[in-house]
């Protein structure tokens, strides 16, 4: 936020503004400085106070011609200049950012409780896996022998002990028979049992699976248990290796003989354990295409981010050649970032599949939420590019640079001492105004102005910069008058200009001041100096400017026109494009029916330039407020001009069908096909 940034740059800068000469506090306005001074430093030297007052009064006269800086930004400043807010350290927006607040971690406690629980699961799951391995090894194909084999490895529970199915709590009878889980030996009914396919079981105990499991276990399990566990695992994998070939053979033979029984009956409990393990391993090992694309994308982004400050430094130090080189490099990186974002966007998307995108053909179609994610990634990247790359500062040419420097020196408001001005005047009288302006690098107007003031300038002290008018000639008198005014007001009497002037005149006579006339001008200045206001209550400031309504109407009309124009332009372009394709197709068929002339020239390369063009039609995304993503799947708006055109042609076909203009239909369909082909080509270019 700008406030925070402003707040940072305080140290070491030259202090200026309304500083209190004693404690160097920055007070935002004269009135406040004066109040502060009178309140805090009352005991300090009275002389300083007086001199300060004198100085302040002078300064005030100058400044009060403008509005007294209030807490609100001045009305006439340009609302678009970023960072144009005057630096007010007391404004809450400019408060020093607080340090990161405290936080308290519960992770250690959480992990302690979790591992105490998880350890028992891990042991249990491992036991199941060992049994599964044993079961699969040398599995007899004959059902009776197989049963004996199964029972030799796992103790089956006694039928008498289990009167009800422990999962659905219904009693067993002739129809609902008892079944045994082959892994834990427990009893359940047919409906509650699961069947573990041999294929899946093989996968669960395959070496890849086990290897990663050992690793993960070593990481997760606390040290004491860990060593014993891993030794246990190495035992399994040893077992696996020796028996793998055999079990595979037996499996095949089983598959040959009895196709119905390729699975183990197991209970829900064991099934969830095994599935959980499977999921865990799956997650650790597999990495979707999206992740790989995304990593690449972020790599480009961080490269650009690291190059940008370098470029800006170069551009500022005006080492133009290096900067130009770097600029090209950044733009290239931007190109590849853009195309990467496109790829992320199109990954497994329905539009991509529609036209048989080569890159996404092996990727499963993404769910609505993943699609949303992809879209968000792309839009964020586009925003990043817009912000970072399109706003790269343009490098000035050498000539521009020189001009710029000169202009700056002319434009900036500088202060000149009286001595300097007199020197300029002297030079100008010897030569002429233009020459003097060139020589001293000031504008001609100031030379003219100074010439007029030359008589006054001669009277000024040599180092004084400004001739800021008269100061308070009768300080004592004014103090008395001010006292009179506030006393009157406190007692509830109204004070007018007239009464002030009469009182001042009388007082002057009393004090023996002769050259005092109590003029109208003096009265104004006196009131300004003492901050008196004789204003009446007003209502004017509450009125909106009179022409506002007209302006608003005008603005809306203009906006609507702009929108209309943009739409017209878009349709015109699409039509022109369709017409061109039609024309080209005619020509092609006339020239040579089969040969396809190179069309690459007409296909816009998916480069950065296309991004730039597209922006003209794209609506700006005002950062609307947000919440959670309520509905995951929104209507996808394609912003690719090609797809837009395809849609337009599809509409044409539909219209033609409705109007029974059947002659046109085949022609349009051919166009559509052609467009699709071009689009494919473009996609291929984009995703080599």
């Amino acid at each position: 936020m700008s406030g925070a940034e402003l707040g940072n740059g305080r140290d070491g800068e030259v202090l200026e503004g309304f500083l209190c000469p004693f404690c160097f506090l920055d007070l935002t306005s004269i009135t406040q400085l004066q109040a502060h001074f009178e309140e805090q430093h009352e005991s300090e030297d009275k002389a300083v106070l007086q001199s300060l007052k004198g100085f302040l009064n002078k300064a005030k006269k100058k400044l009060l011609n403008e509005d007294e800086p209030d807490f609100v930004p001045a009305r006439n400043h340009n609302p678009f200049d970023d960072g144009a807010v005057e630096y007010e350290p007391n404004n809450p927006w400019n408060w020093d950012p607080p340090p990161l607040g405290p936080s308290r971690s519960h992770t250690a406690l959480f992990k302690k409780i979790r591992s105490a629980r998880i350890d028992s699961f891990v042991a249990e799951t491992n036991k199941l896996l060992i049994r599964l391995d044993k079961l699969l090894k040398d599995l007899p194909s004959d059902p009776v022998k197989r049963k004996a084999h199964e029972r030799s490895i796992v103790m089956w529970a006694d039928d008498k002990d289990v009167p009800l199915c422990p999962f659905c709590a219904r009693s067993f009878n002739l129809a609902r028979r008892r079944h045994h889980c082959r892994l834990c030996g427990g009893i359940m009914c047919n409906e509650c049992s699961h069947f573990l396919e041999f294929e899946y079981a093989k996968k669960l105990i395959s070496p890849v699976h086990q290897g990663s499991m050992v690793q993960s276990a070593a990481v997760n399990v606390s040290s004491g248990v860990g060593s014993s566990m891993s030794s246990l695992f190495s035992g399994i994998s040893g077992l696996r290796r020796s028996g793998s070939q055999g079990s595979l053979n037996s499996l095949l033979s089983v598959m040959d003989s009895m196709t119905t029984e390729q699975n183990f009956r197991i209970c829900t409990h064991c099934m969830t354990r095994l599935q959980a393990r499977d999921n865990q391993v799956e997650q650790r090992t597999s990495k979707p295409t999206l992740s790989m694309y995304y990593e690449k994308l972020m790599e480009y982004r961080s490269q650009i981010e690291s190059l940008l400050p370098q470029f800006i430094r170069m551009a500022e130090s005006l080492s133009l050649r290096d900067a130009e080189e770097l600029r090209v490099k950044i733009l290239k990186k931007g190109d590849s970032l853009n195309s990467m974002a496109q790829r992320v966007r199109n990954l497994g998307s329905s539009t991509g599949q529609d036209i048989g995108d080569a890159a996404s053909s092996h990727v499963p179609p993404s769910g609505p939420r993943q699609e949303l994610l992809q879209r968000r990634i792309q839009s964020t990247t586009t925003a990043f590019l817009k912000e970072q790359i399109l706003s790269l500062p343009k490098l000035p040419t050498h000539q521009e640079l020189k001009e710029m420097q000169e202009r700056r020196s002319m434009d900036s408001r500088r202060m000149f001492t009286a001595m300097f001005k007199l020197r300029v005047i002297e030079y100008a009288e010897q030569t002429h105004n233009c020459a003097a302006a060139r020589e001293f690098k000031v504008s001609k107007k100031s030379v003219r102005d100074w010439k007029k003031l030359s008589a006054q300038l001669k009277l000024l002290p040599k180092n004084k910069c400004a001739n800021r008018g008269k100061c308070n000639k009768w300080p004592q008198l004014e103090v008395e008058v001010a006292k009179y005014v506030s006393e009157n007001r406190q007692n509830g009497y109204g004070v007018s200009r007239g009464s002030i002037r009469i009182f001042a005149l009388n007082l002057a006579r009393k004090l023996g001041i002769t050259d005092f006339k109590a003029s109208h001008g003096w009265c104004t200045r006196f009131m300004k100096r003492n901050d008196f206001v004789l204003r009446r209550k007003t209502k004017i400031s509450q009125r909106l400017p009179q022409e506002l309504d007209d302006k608003v109407i005008e603005f809306h009309r203009m906006e609507a026109e702009a929108r209309l124009a943009a739409e017209k332009e878009a349709t015109r372009r699409a039509e022109a494009r369709a017409a061109e394709i039609l024309r080209r197709r005619d020509r092609d068929s006339r020239d040579s029916p089969r040969s396809t002339p190179s069309r690459s020239s007409s296909v816009t390369p998916p480069s950065f330039s296309s991004l730039k063009k597209r922006q003209q039609t794209e609506e700006v995304v005002v950062d609307t407020g947000w919440g959670a993503d309520s509905s995951a799947h929104n209507v996808t708006e394609t912003d690719d001009p090609m797809i837009q055109q395809m849609n337009i042609i599809r509409n044409y076909i539909k219209q033609a069908r409705e109007a029974s203009r059947y002659d046109d239909v085949p022609l349009l369909e051919a166009n559509l096909r052609e467009l699709q082909e071009e689009y494919k080509k473009q996609q291929r270019l984009m995703n080599p």
């Binding site: 408060w95 992770t107 912000e387 406190q490 206001v533 608003v552 700006v620 950062d623 993503d629």
Partner: protein
């Protein structure tokens, strides 16, 4: 000391701690609003958080195990249960859990037991449990805080949590003062004190006692401020259009473009707004006019794209231009709607009458004017009622008041029963009997300083008829700064700090029953004018007149009406 920055710090801590990679943020209803008022969506997306989900609305079961999930929720019972369910069937790869406040050990245990898949990497508590609307303003977004003049169910706990989070997050260890005549303020003060004592381990040092103060006030002491028509941009938008979580709905405005149906009006996300939110109505019109002129100038420049260099310039200035056009059309629409409402409902006249009534002392002319407005069919029903309410509050003790006449005028207008009931409810809620401060400056002054102050008031003259009123809060703050705030009226909770001479530098003011944007403006001005002082204002909610009336209605529910019988 900025509350906005404190919340931002916490959010960026969450995002950076979970290392690079794409992320989803899982939040509850309230934490969503905490984040969304301080950060724009695109700002968060820049930091690789692309998706947002509500914990209580997890619709899709789509497994996205490649995503990292940042959980940021309040530590409520429901959230813990939902989170435990989520962890049992995790949809994302890893979870980083952050609670917005103190979480109990038993809840952590519950979660740990649910995490069978070992997906949780981090469990922490942060102290960002409030909506930070401006650097000096926070709200707990709790429109109804009290039932039957007592803390409503759960409201006390929520308030203690929110307020404690502000104190923890900014590392403020304050002495506490509360409004003496308010039982609710006292209960809250004691609870806060207890919380600070039990969580004292969160503070690095135990100093800062002397210069930090928590002042707890009750809305009942100043029922006038929320009823007055406001004229700053921020307050007008809230009063007339309604700001909800930093967003304003313009869907009802005729002929509004689709992308302006709902707009962001949050100073943290809109630079133009943050610069103009405290401007007065007339000034806003002028600023908007300048803005449009500037825009048109630029637009005409844009349209001249002929040479190559024009083209180049166009491309380079385009993003900025687009941003500007979004800003312009948004604010033009908003101000247009405001000016329409002001015109059709005759709000200028009403406001003038309101201000004269509250700040002036001329009884008979005001009464006449009110009668005139109440019978005017152009004036909205609610405005008429509010006028009568203000009159009743102002001239409650005046023996020659004409409440009977006004009420019968309201009845003649066929004002709904609800409003008539509210009128008498309000008198019990914030009438003279339930106030301890001299709200209208009508009491016999007790000391010389008040006399002087009253006389000085008139000295500088009044610029603007419509903004004469200054909220009571300003007076309280001034007295506090000068060390003149009476201990009888605002006693300390616990022992007062040993060095009573030290004037507080950091002040957190909390208004039980909601603050208003007028008070926010006052605090802003106060901060700007008092270098070295940091005042933060908080409230149960930020009131508009209608939300204030709703809260009065629920507060007085079931309490027999005494003050005013109609």
């Amino acid at each position: 000391m900025s509350v906005v920055q404190a919340v931002k710090n916490y959010v960026s801590k969450m995002i950076t701690e979970s290392e690079p990679g794409y992320k989803i943020m899982l939040m509850d209803k309230e934490t969503t609003s905490f984040v969304s008022v301080v950060l724009g969506m695109s700002e968060v997306m820049r930091q690789e958080v692309y998706m947002f989900e509500r914990l209580d609305q997890t619709s899709s079961g789509e497994n996205m195990s490649y995503l990292k999930c940042l959980v940021y929720v309040r530590p409520t019972k429901e959230n813990i249960d939902l989170l435990a369910r989520e962890l049992q069937k995790p949809r994302y790869g890893t979870y980083y859990i952050y609670f917005s406040n103190v979480v109990s050990k038993s809840d952590v245990k519950l979660l740990a037991e649910a995490d069978e898949h070992e997906v949780v990497r981090e469990v922490q508590e942060l102290y960002a449990d409030y909506q930070a609307l401006s650097p000096h303003l926070f709200s707990l977004h709790m429109p109804i805080h009290c039932l039957g003049l007592k803390w409503g169910g759960g409201a006390l706990q929520r308030t203690v949590q929110g307020l404690a989070a502000v104190l923890f997050g900014l590392q403020l260890l304050p002495s506490i003062r509360y409004q003496n005549n308010s039982e609710m303020a006292r209960t809250l003060a004691e609870n806060i004190r207890q919380t600070i004592l039990t969580e004292s381990s969160l503070y690095n040092s135990t100093e800062a006692e002397g210069n930090t103060l928590l002042l707890i006030l009750d809305r009942r002491d100043d029922p006038v401020t929320p009823l007055l028509q406001q004229w700053t941009y921020e307050a007008m938008v809230h009063e007339l259009l309604g700001v909800n979580n930093g967003r304003v709905s313009l869907a009802h405005v005729s002929g509004v473009a689709d992308d302006l149906k709902e707009v962001v009006m949050s100073p943290t996300q809109d630079e133009f707004y943050s610069r103009s939110m405290y401007l007065n109505y007339g000034e806003i019109g002028q600023t908007i006019k300048d803005l449009m002129e500037e825009y048109q100038k630029r637009l005409s420049k844009q349209q001249k794209v002929e040479s190559i260099s024009d083209m180049k310039n166009f491309v380079e200035s385009y993003p900025q231009f687009k941003k500007m056009s979004g800003t312009v059309s948004k604010h033009v629409t908003v101000v247009g709607e405001l000016s329409r409402l002001v015109g059709t409902h005759g709000l200028l006249g009403i406001s003038e009458c309101q201000q004269e009534l509250v700040c002036g002392s001329d009884h008979s002319t005001n009464l006449q004017r009110i009668f005139q407005l109440v019978t005017d069919p152009r004036v909205r029903e609610v405005d008429a009622v509010i006028l009568v309410m203000l009159y009743a509050l102002r001239h409650e003790c005046n023996p020659s008041n004409d409440m009977r006449g006004l009420v019968s005028a309201l009845k003649k207008r066929n004002v709904t029963d609800r409003y008539l009931k509210l009128l008498s409810s309000l008198m019990d809620f914030g009438g003279a009997k339930s106030r301890q401060s001299d709200l209208f400056g009508t009491q016999v002054p007790q000391n010389v300083s008040t006399i002087r102050k009253r006389l000085f008031k008139g000295l500088k003259g009044v610029d603007n008829v419509y903004t004469q009123h200054k909220p009571l809060l300003l007076e309280t703050l001034m007295e506090l700064v000068k060390g003149r705030l009476r201990e009888g009226a605002f006693p300390f909770c616990g022992n007062p700090p040993s060095s009573t001479t030290a004037r507080p530098k950091n002040i957190v003011v909390f208004i039980v029953g909601g603050a208003t944007y007028e008070e926010s403006l006052t605090v802003h001005q106060f901060n700007t004018n008092n270098p070295g002082m940091h005042v933060i204002l908080g409230g149960s909610t930020i009131h508009s007149a209608s939300s204030f009336l709703d809260s009065v209605e629920s507060a007085m529910d079931g309490i027999p009406r005494k003050a005013l019988r109609i």
